[in-house]
């Protein structure tokens, strides 16, 4: 079999939107095949994964809460990916951001500082620390690339393992709750150190609003600002970007700082919103899933918002399916891999006319 590619002279707008949708449908079909091979009912699984979560209020809220970190991270990643910079260590930046912010939450737990300075500043400071922590961690691979030419792909990924092990150590060691019966977890944050819920007694927390704001700002930056132009140009034609007077080094640092900062923000939102304390594992693979979100959203902020909700659906569906259908959690991850492959394949359809020749 031979595949011939003929670049499209004119890109079709319709196709640009139809492609990711088509990819989603194909991936659902393929996922169904895998589920059938596992001896389960694909129809039931479809119901559990993609329909049920949309029918109830609590699961819709849960959807928004799960989409929040995915969207935040993926928007950050889009700054890197569009500039052809490959930050695949968002998982690590997420952890360090969560950790940095959590340190303040733990330090203020005894209440001494709150009595002196009041409690209003703690949450904003935690969020800021989360951003700074994530950005600083993201800057490590950026610096190594800009000054030494070391592959940012490998260094950013290695740092994920380092961050995971570091968090594990801290939660079991210095940051462990001294009164926690030796459980590997920190103290539970005070209310002033937690993201407020949007409605009394519900799951939706303020992180969702932060994510929406970030999407809006990113959309504006890409559409109108010179910096957004710079990012697009570097990804498209790096020599032309140099000719335009943009510094590749500076851009590498800034893009990684933004990406790491947003991942860190997602991390602290998760810790201060969902979890409320530090645990040995705070992410559940958001940093990697966000890569899929970024591509499914075609690296555009609004697309990422929608894609984030779709991927959040697979998380929630996955949890339900685990209970209701005894489908392992790995099914979700395998499906996410299939989805990303389909999304990438669909991208080829928008770029090329594809001619299949059998036996050529």
């Amino acid at each position: 079999m031979r595949i011939d590619l003929e670049p499209r002279r004119v890109r079709s707008r319709v196709l640009e939107i139809a492609a990711p949708v088509g990819a989603l449908l194909v991936s659902i079909l393929l996922g169904g095949v895998v589920i059938a091979l596992l001896g389960k009912s694909p129809v039931e699984a479809f119901q559990v994964y993609f329909v049920d979560p949309l029918l109830e209020s609590w699961s819709l809220q849960e959807l928004a809460v799960k989409a929040c970190p995915l969207v935040l991270i993926a928007v950050g990643l889009s700054f890197c990916f569009r500039a052809n910079l490959w930050n695949i260590g968002a998982e690590g930046q997420f952890i360090i951001g969560g950790l940095a912010g959590a340190c303040l939450g733990i330090a203020t737990h005894d209440g001494a500082m709150q009595e002196t300075f009041g409690g209003w500043w703690i949450l904003p400071a935690m969020l800021l620390l989360g951003v700074i922590g994530g950005a600083a961690y993201g800057l490590i691979p950026a610096i190594l690339r800009a000054w030494l030419g070391a592959s940012e792909i490998l260094t950013s990924l290695m740092l994920v393992y380092v961050a995971e092990l570091g968090l594990d150590y801290l939660v079991r060691g210095p940051l462990r709750d001294p009164h926690g019966f030796n459980f590997p977890q920190s103290v539970t944050f005070d209310d002033v150190a937690r993201l407020p819920f949007l409605m009394e007694g519900e799951r939706l927390h303020a992180g969702v609003l932060i994510a929406l704001a970030v999407v809006a700002i990113a959309a504006f930056v890409f559409a109108r600002s010179l910096f957004g132009f710079e990012i697009r140009l570097v990804g498209e034609a790096p020599r032309a970007a140099r000719f335009a007077g943009f510094s590749e080094k500076r851009l590498t640092l800034v893009a990684f700082a933004i990406s790491g900062g947003l991942a860190g923000l997602a991390g602290i939102c998760e810790v201060a919103g969902q979890i409320g304390q530090l645990q040995p594992a705070i992410s559940g693979g958001y940093g990697f899933t966000a890569i899929i979100v970024a591509f499914l959203g075609r690296l555009r902020p609004l697309g990422i918002l929608i894609a984030g909700l779709v991927l959040a659906l697979t998380y929630i569906g996955g949890e339900t399916a685990q209970v209701a259908m005894k489908l392992p959690q790995d099914m979700t991850r395998a499906y996410q891999g299939i989805l990303l492959m389909c999304v990438l394949g669909a991208d080829a359809v928008t770029r090329y006319r594809i001619h299949l020749r059998i036996g050529g």
Binding site: S151, L154, L165, D168, Y169, D330, M331, A334, M341, L344
Partner: protein, 307 residues
């Protein structure tokens, strides 16, 4: 430390290095043809789970190893379809393969969690294997170790001494020139990608058949990524892969011994040393050398035949 003890430690270094050698040499061949496949980790872990499943069900280590290889080939063919057939960005394609592989390995390995089997047997040659201090190190390893060394030698010979190897290197240097000469750019790249997949699958199978003779989810623990770094570290030269893998194997074993000896440094931080060592190795390599001068010039660039 006694000499016998040292021999034992060195043997563990060799076993720790072997999967890295196998995975890295496969990726090296793929990269010399211009293909950057970041799916090594995914192919490796599927190789580990499928390899264990097959060996456990059949009772044969060989069948397990072959199953691991087959799994790697199948997964890499998906990558080849995306990155070579459809000319999609190789970084993204490779990532998707790793994500898929991690999920699939969990699905396929689930029934075998907690099962154990005998580790792959080690070579025992009368007299030779009994030579003091070096006998077991040289003549008492498992078959994978010898296969790994043979693989490196074969790849070196293929790349540097055969016409097909020359063609492969030419395609990795400049696919436009290669196409203009009528060299089969995409066919060679597909084949080298499949070879890389086979090696990654075998490396994974080694982990679950010989290194630790059981399957546990996530057991590759980033070794696929370290193998990718090793290729850079080796400047795309086969024998340097062996050297690099032994260094990394040494670091891994050293940190395990340090943990066992409880020297007062937290275990998690010791566990992080292989990853930190990888970063440091990439840094050292980049300092001094002009930027990536050793890398195949067309590495990672998608190829579309033009007019």
């Amino acid at each position: 430390m006694s000499a016998d003890m040292l021999e034992l430690v060195l043997m563990t270094v060799v076993t720790a290095a072997t999967p890295l050698i196998i995975a890295a040499i496969g990726e090296l061949v793929a990269e010399r043809s211009g293909v950057l496949n970041l799916g090594v980790e995914g192919m490796m872990i599927v190789g580990a789970s499928v390899g264990f499943a097959a060996a456990f069900s059949s009772g044969s280590t060989l069948i397990g190893a072959l199953a691991g290889i087959a799994a790697g080939v199948v997964l890499s063919s998906l990558f080849a379809l995306l990155a070579i057939g459809l000319a999609i960005n190789q970084v993204a394609s490779g990532l998707s393969l790793t994500i898929l592989g991690v999920g699939l390995s969990g699905l396929m390995g689930a029934p075998f969690v907690g099962q154990k089997r005998e580790a792959a047997s080690r070579l025992a040659i009368p007299y030779l294997s009994d030579i003091p201090y070096v006998g077991r190190l040289v003549f008492g390893e498992d078959m994978f170790v010898y296969a790994a060394i043979a693989l490196v030698a074969a790849c070196w010979w293929f790349l540097n001494r055969t016409r097909a190897g020359l063609t492969l290197r030419a395609i990795g240097d400049n696919h436009h020139s290669a196409h203009a000469l009528g060299l089969p750019v995409r066919r060679v790249r597909v084949l080298s990608t499949l070879f890389g997949g086979a090696c990654a699958g075998l490396a994974g199978a080694y982990l679950s058949l010989a290194y630790t003779p059981f399957w546990s989810p996530g057991m590759t623990a980033g070794r696929g990524w370290i193998a990718l770094a090793l290729v850079v570290f080796a400047s795309w030269k086969p024998w340097r892969v062996v050297l690099g893998a032994l260094l990394f194997g040494g670091a891994t074993v050293l940190q395990l011994h340090a943990q066992a000896a409880s020297i007062g440094v937290p275990g998690q931080l010791l566990s992080a040393t292989p990853y930190l060592a990888t970063i440091v190795a990439l840094m050292i390599l980049s300092i001094g050398a002009r930027r990536n001068a050793a890398a195949p010039a067309a590495l990672g660039q998608p190829f579309v035949a033009t007019r």
